[in-house]
Assembly symmetry: none
Homo-oligomer: 318 residues x 2
Amino acid sequence: MTSSARASHNQDGHTAPPSRPEAESVGHDVSSGDARAELAALLSGRRLTPVQRRLAQYVTEHHGQVAALGAGELAERTGVSQPSVTRFAQALGFEGYPGLRRWLRELRTDGPSTSQRHVAEGAPEVKRLQQAVADEVANLQYLEAQLMSEPTALSRAGTRLTGSPVLPIIGLRASAAIVEHVRFFAAKIHGGVRTVTHAGSMGADTLEQCASAGATAALVIALPRYPRETIELLRQARKRGLWVAAITDTVPGPVHRDADVALQAPVGDRLVFDSHAAAALMAGLLLDAMAEAGGTQAQRRLEAFERHASEQQAFWPH
Amino acid sequence: MTSSARASHNQDGHTAPPSRPEAESVGHDVSSGDARAELAALLSGRRLTPVQRRLAQYVTEHHGQVAALGAGELAERTGVSQPSVTRFAQALGFEGYPGLRRWLRELRTDGPSTSQRHVAEGAPEVKRLQQAVADEVANLQYLEAQLMSEPTALSRAGTRLTGSPVLPIIGLRASAAIVEHVRFFAAKIHGGVRTVTHAGSMGADTLEQCASAGATAALVIALPRYPRETIELLRQARKRGLWVAAITDTVPGPVHRDADVALQAPVGDRLVFDSHAAAALMAGLLLDAMAEAGGTQAQRRLEAFERHASEQQAFWPH
DNA sequence: GCATTCTTGCATGCTTCCATTCGCACCGTT
DNA sequence: AACGGTGCGAATGGAAGCATGCAAGAATGC
């Protein structure tokens, strides 16, 4: 039974084809994008448990590497048990984990070292969108560059913002969406979040109330095209002694001069409307820094929320 | 208890550095472009037998895949015996074949663009953030893959949504920020935008009113962790005959089954809170498709807004 | 509210894969 | 021509990896 076989093809039937209609050998090289689509097709419409979902997500995001991983290693990286990995593969229709591994290996017959080679193909319309995506990728990488050049900016902002008993978050018009995003998450680790998303005297009043209530810091979202009121609110905050962090685009402007820390998040401008992917990520990084600065207290608050949520069975399958 | 206590001379727990004198401690992590050079450096100046030379050639040409291959399979593909593969790995200075495999795996830590080189340099905290950024870059590239595999999904959604006289945009909790983003911009090219960001009867009522007012399509934002109400609203919309586009994350779930078009936007989960950069970009792409579908009418509306804005000098000059 | 089903991690037996030993073939040397 | 050396593949023992039974906990349905 030992391998007297140089069997060039698997006659053992291990590579059980998934429930897809045709399982022809897709030997020709597949771009990493198609691989993900293929993978998504395999997963779609399948009933998966929460742990399996986590695995599915990891596999879709790292399908190239997973092919080189053992079941135990994959389990370790995703924080699940090794049997769960086996069951995950079986749930996808494979005989076992090795079957999934082989399938992943065949998906990427050729290593996609660089992923920007298929831009030229496709319709011009698609190409325009692809360039927009490429722009946003560059914008995200600009954030990474900031992490290197100014590694303390985020943590400083996180500490200051978390330390403020009352925390006003200011952003008008298009920036209001980011404000809403930050508000939603920041409220889980900070009890005094206030938002200012409307200009005029109402916004100024809210800010004033925050300052009177003991606020020591504020966050300003100033993405283009921000109205004068944004700057006026920023200056009002400074005048009241608030330490101000700002998320703004790269163009040097009044925000850079007036804010204590300016976090740059370039906007994508290739589409009809501005795209705020980099700002969304920067907000996420800032929230992370705030949670970090909050320490155990923030942690406890967060856990309390999780408990509350699961008690209420508020979410889908989880 | 795992029997790891055994100090067999195999498992060094770390990638065994080749015995080359110049071999740096740990191959610092090399972007995949340097992988071949790194590999060549490892092979150069080493005395190899003919069979090993054949193996070396195959490994250099397919280093990406070899990391996913077992010793037996590599032997089969190169037409040599399995022990020769082991000896080859040992000749290169590794403890055995698994050592070579691990080394190859590290070579291509992860392909896409991000300069992983500096990651090892900085503090672990910075590294964590950089990986989060890298994740989001991968998520954005996943959008690009979708553009290729499903080039019509966006335009179909844009046409349907723009064509609806009244356009409800649904998204609860964390997704409400994306809803706000879309609402802000969509209002510039569409006169009937409504938003549903709160669960309960109020949301259902709003949706009902939209349907009664002639809505033919709806947009649902369903990023994790979405509550049951999101699905209920989605189904209510479908029940009323609305055509539903959804922006959701990659994991297959009820949204994929119930929506007419599911636009996948993976969320970044390396930070304390989810990051929605990909969803923000997908929203931008969708808005673009809507503007495209709106044609001259949308264009006129947009221009009218621009005129209005500049007349009022509402914005800071860029 | 309780029973039932489901999910997940732990422990364990089994399978696969890998390293080693041995024998044979080839080659250069005496 | 004989011999020592070397390279290679076949066979085997051992180790790592993988799959399955089992129990605890959670979710769900009645």
